[in-house]
């Protein structure tokens, strides 16, 4: 009977909390899918970078567990409150608290296990989907491969266990503290009154001020590349922003109300008064929860922004670091050996060798030195003819120079020196004076001048009696190069840079004078996959959880609000108008909490862009990533909003 009761209650709860159950199922599916993914051999073998994937997943899962725990705990508390009268009845009939607690625990666990079971199936499907995406990123062959992974199962069950242990611990504690009077009269409780009402404006002002200070301090941490931001300050900024969010949410409902009430024009227009009163009462009653949700939304948007920046950076980086299939800077005596290695497995389309030259008086370096200009303690020069050939190999336009002119090609970190007067005219070691014809950072690649963030392009005659720094070998192949080729080349250049790893592969450390495009792509893909998947994972889970809690809150209010809407109708408001009011009210409730996070995330990505911009296509490409983040977020969020709106309307009109 005991179990029967729990089972029946569970059945009823499934109907009432279907949105919540779907979210929990989705969350567990993702957890399971990622556990499968980080344990899949075929994924780990893709690139040496993917080892980190596993580690990152463990860390991220801690956050995810924390947030899922928040959702389940919140909903459990909520279910308990909504049914307090039922539990009060049990107590009146003389059923002990211990038994009531046991019954409710059983019910919660039944719901949990149903979600878990479904999520295993769903998790496999998600896993296949994600594997497909990853294989595509790496352009590796994909085949559906369902394997049983003990680790993934154990981890998922462990997370499930931890979450439910915490939730049930809080539930038991809540029940043991309960008084029967509170249970029976719970429904008569009013929405909360705002405490510190007289300080409302002040709290709002202080909170906003804190937010501005935090964003400004954050912004100042990112002056430019090379200036390391202080980790401590960033953490303090983050904390300040969180405090600010709670403060704003705590007061904004009432602020909103007072704006409406104090302006007679707005107050008596249509349903404004009704909507504003309902909204502020609601926000007041759940300000803490709403604050937490707003923090989650902020984190989601920041996360999505980061993923956009990373993706942009990785794509741009490949072109910057490895514009040619193979670049080797070494002594030209060894070039024959390298070409043989490449020729074994690849078809060489184009091959070119050139030199860089030393300018010892550092006329350029001395100016740029205030920024980080690499480890070389001399300027590197390149002949115009070589430079033009290198540009041609990348399909770029040729340039010309008069005999007394030079070009300074820098990476984007040096943009500040664009109109620097000391660089307008330089005199080299050998006494030749050149005027600056062009200062550009367009498609600069560090492979032209390893060890410097810039290169000086001079007319051919200038280098005649200058010392050669290095010989460079540039090769384009027909096929895409691979990590293996990079290893072989590094091995040939410096065998002590390589060692065997646990899977029996030879792994070589990056040697700065050997750049292989295939290796860069593999590394970048590894990094990109990790950061993209982690960001999207966090964003999806957070968004669904925010959507769920708002949906549950709204839908449970439908019974209370039904009465209010009936009053409106009795007062002569048309059905159509009532529906409009409903839409207005729900939209306010769902979308007002987003405004502040959007502002915060915009300013934070703008600050981050100061560092990221040198690695992005343009200075303003971050705006595109920001827009993309919003699109992704709203895509998920709107589903919850629409689902809530329609079930709410159905509940009201029933």
């Amino acid at each position: 009977m005991f179990c029967k009761l729990a089972l029946r209650n569970a059945k009823r709860s499934i109907k009432d909390y279907i949105i919540y159950l779907i979210t929990v199922t989705v969350a567990f599916s993702f957890i399971f899918a990622f556990n499968l993914l980080s344990d899949a051999k075929e994924i780990l073998e893709l690139s040496s970078m993917m080892e980190n994937f596993k580690l990152v997943m463990y860390v991220v899962n801690v956050f995810i567990i924390f947030v899922v725990c928040f959702l389940i705990n919140y909903t459990t508390k909520f279910m308990f409150q909504k049914r307090s009268k039922e539990f009060g009845t049990y107590m009146l009939l003389g059923i002990e608290k211990k038994k009531i607690a046991r019954m409710f625990t059983l019910e919660i666990l039944i719901l949990g296990f149903i979600s878990l079971l479904i999520s295993i199936g769903l998790g496999y499907i998600l896993n296949i989907l994600m594997t497909y995406i990853i294989m595509n990123i790496f352009s590796a062959p994909f085949k559906v491969n369902i394997t049983f992974s003990l680790t993934a199962f154990l981890l998922t069950f462990l997370y499930f266990g931890i979450i439910y242990l915490i939730v049930l611990f809080f539930l038991r504690r809540r029940i043991s503290k309960l008084k029967i009077h509170d249970l029976i009269y719970y429904e008569k409780k009013n929405e909360r009154k705002l405490r510190f009402k007289e300080y409302r404006g002040l709290i709002l002002a202080i909170s906003l001020f804190l937010g501005i200070v935090a964003l400004d301090t954050f912004d100042k941490q990112f002056t430019r590349v090379g200036v390391e931001p202080s980790f401590g300050v960033i953490i303090i900024c983050l904390l300040l922003i969180i405090v600010s969010i709670y403060g704003v949410i705590y007061t904004v409902g009432d602020f909103f109300l007072s704006v409406v009430i104090n302006n007679k024009k707005i107050k008596y227009r249509k349903d404004n008064l009704f909507v504003a009163r309902n909204f502020s009462a609601k926000v007041r009653s759940m300000s803490f929860t709403l604050g937490t949700l707003t923090v989650l939304i902020t984190l989601t948007l920041i996360c999505l922004n980061m993923s956009g920046l990373f993706k942009g950076m990785f794509e741009y980086q490949i072109d910057t670091y490895a514009p040619y299939d193979v670049m080797i800077a070494s002594n030209e005596e060894k070039f024959g050996e390298f070409i043989d290695i490449i020729d074994n497995d690849f078809t060489i389309e184009e091959s070119y060798t050139y030199n860089t030259y030393k300018n010892n008086n550092n006329v350029v370096k001395n100016v740029l030195d205030s920024a980080d200009s690499g480890w070389r303690d001399y300027d590197q020069l390149i002949k115009l003819s070589d430079y033009n050939k290198l540009l041609a190999m990348r399909g770029m336009e040729q340039v010309t120079l008069n005999d007394d002119e030079y070009i300074l090609h820098v990476n984007r970190g040096y943009e500040d020196f664009r109109n620097n007067k000391s660089l307008a005219s330089i005199t080299l070691d050998n006494g030749i004076t050149l005027k600056q014809k062009l200062f550009t950072s367009y498609k600069f690649t560090s492979s032209w001048a390893i060890g410097s963030g810039y290169i000086v392009v001079v007319p051919d005659y200038v280098v005649e009696n200058l010392e050669v720094v290095e010989n460079h070998l540039v090769i384009n192949t027909k096929e895409e190069t691979t990590e293996k080729l990079a290893n072989a080349l590094v091995y040939a250049a410096a065998s002590d840079f390589c060692e065997e790893n646990e899977y029996g592969y030879t792994v070589c450390y990056n040697l700065s004078n050997v750049t292989v495009r295939g290796q860069e792509i593999a590394n970048n893909n590894g990094m990109m996959t990790i950061s993209l998947f982690v960001c999207y994972y966090v964003a999806i889970i957070f968004t669904t959880i925010v959507g769920t809690i708002l949906a549950i809150q709204t839908l449970s209010d439908a019974t209370v609000y039904k009465y209010r809407y009936q009053v409106l109708e009795k007062l002569g408001v048309e059905k159509r108008e009532v529906n409009k009011t409903i839409l207005k009210q729900l939209a306010l409730f769902f979308f007002l909490p987003i405004v502040y996070p959007i502002i915060i995330s915009f300013f934070s990505i703008r600050s981050l862009n100061k560092i990221f911009k040198i690695a992005l296509v343009s200075d303003t490409s971050y705006l595109g990533y920001f827009a993309l983040s919003l699109v992704i977020f709203f895509g998920i969020y709107l589903i919850y909003f629409i689902a809530t709106y329609f079930s709410y309307k159905k509940n009201i009109n029933d």
């Binding site: 009977m1 107590m91 009939l93 003389g94 059923i95 608290k97 038994k99």
Partner: protein
């Protein structure tokens, strides 16, 4: 011993030191076995608070409440549920039935949870349901039956444990006049034929006229007390109205 309930100098205050509400202000009375007592009074007179203190839902400020030999003001919180199960039955205005359970299961719930065997419970439920005239709806669910039937289900549930005292809080409050009448007849029957002791809180004079004794509360104090004795129900009803007029209760509260 004939005494079921004895209340001695009961006080229940709300609020803080600046603003005290005396919901119950020094009340003493007794209820003997087999009595059917109504407690009447205007809204805010302390009726429900009195009922809640007896039901161990509310704590008292001072004074004693004896149910049988037990002083329930001295009970520890964890012992109150066992006390309620063994001694009290409840009937509420809004029924408080569990909508996931059938009528039968609702009636039997406290016995089932108490661990009694199904073979013993079944005939017990049936015999009580028969007496209260809801035998044919035992397998239905609360949302499938009428308000009057729901309230009679609640009465069955209150009776089945054979409690010392049944507490009823405005049992006719949510019923139409016909169902109210039927329910009051049922309670009258419960009192006379099954010898149940009932204490009913109401502000409805008609409901109260079914009782044998009425306590009138005003501002937390006992204002008057009248007995049915040999009077007819009509006479008793008129007497109640007279007292209520004296009490100064609003007439809309009376009818």
């Amino acid at each position: 011993m004939n005494e079921v309930l004895r209340i001695e100098h009961l006080k229940k205050y709300y609020g803080n030191s600046n603003n005290i509400t005396k919901a119950i202000d020094d009340i003493s009375f007794k209820i003997n076995k087999g009595e059917f007592v109504a407690v009447m009074g205007a809204s805010g007179s302390g009726k429900t608070t009195l009922l809640n203190t007896i039901a161990t839902i509310d704590n008292v400020t001072s004074g004693h409440i004896f149910v049988g030999d037990v002083d329930i003001t001295k009970l520890k919180e964890k012992d109150t549920s066992k006390f309620r199960k063994d001694n009290l039955g409840f009937v509420f205005q809004d029924f408080n039935l569990l909508d996931t359970l059938s009528i039968k299961e609702n009636i039997a719930l406290s016995l089932i949870i108490g661990g009694k065997r199904i073979e013993e419970i079944d005939p017990l439920v049936k015999s009580i349901a028969k007496k209260l005239g809801i035998l044919d709806i035992l397998d239905k669910f609360p949302y499938e039956v009428s308000g009057g039937q729901k309230q009679r289900t609640a009465c069955c549930r209150a009776l089945i444990t054979k409690p010392k005292l049944i507490l009823a809080d405005e049992p006719t409050g949510a019923l139409d006049s016909k169902s109210s009448r039927m329910l009051l007849d049922t309670m009258d029957e419960m009192n006379r034929e099954m010898n149940a002791t009932i204490m009913m809180v109401t502000h409805d004079a008609f409901s109260a006229s079914f009782c044998k004794r009425i306590l009138f509360l005003k501002d937390g104090k006992i204002f008057n007390e009248i007995y049915l004795s040999e009077k007819s129900r009509k006479e008793f009803f008129n007497e109640i109205l007279d007292v209520l007029t004296l009490l100064g209760g609003d007439l809309s509260d009376v009818l």
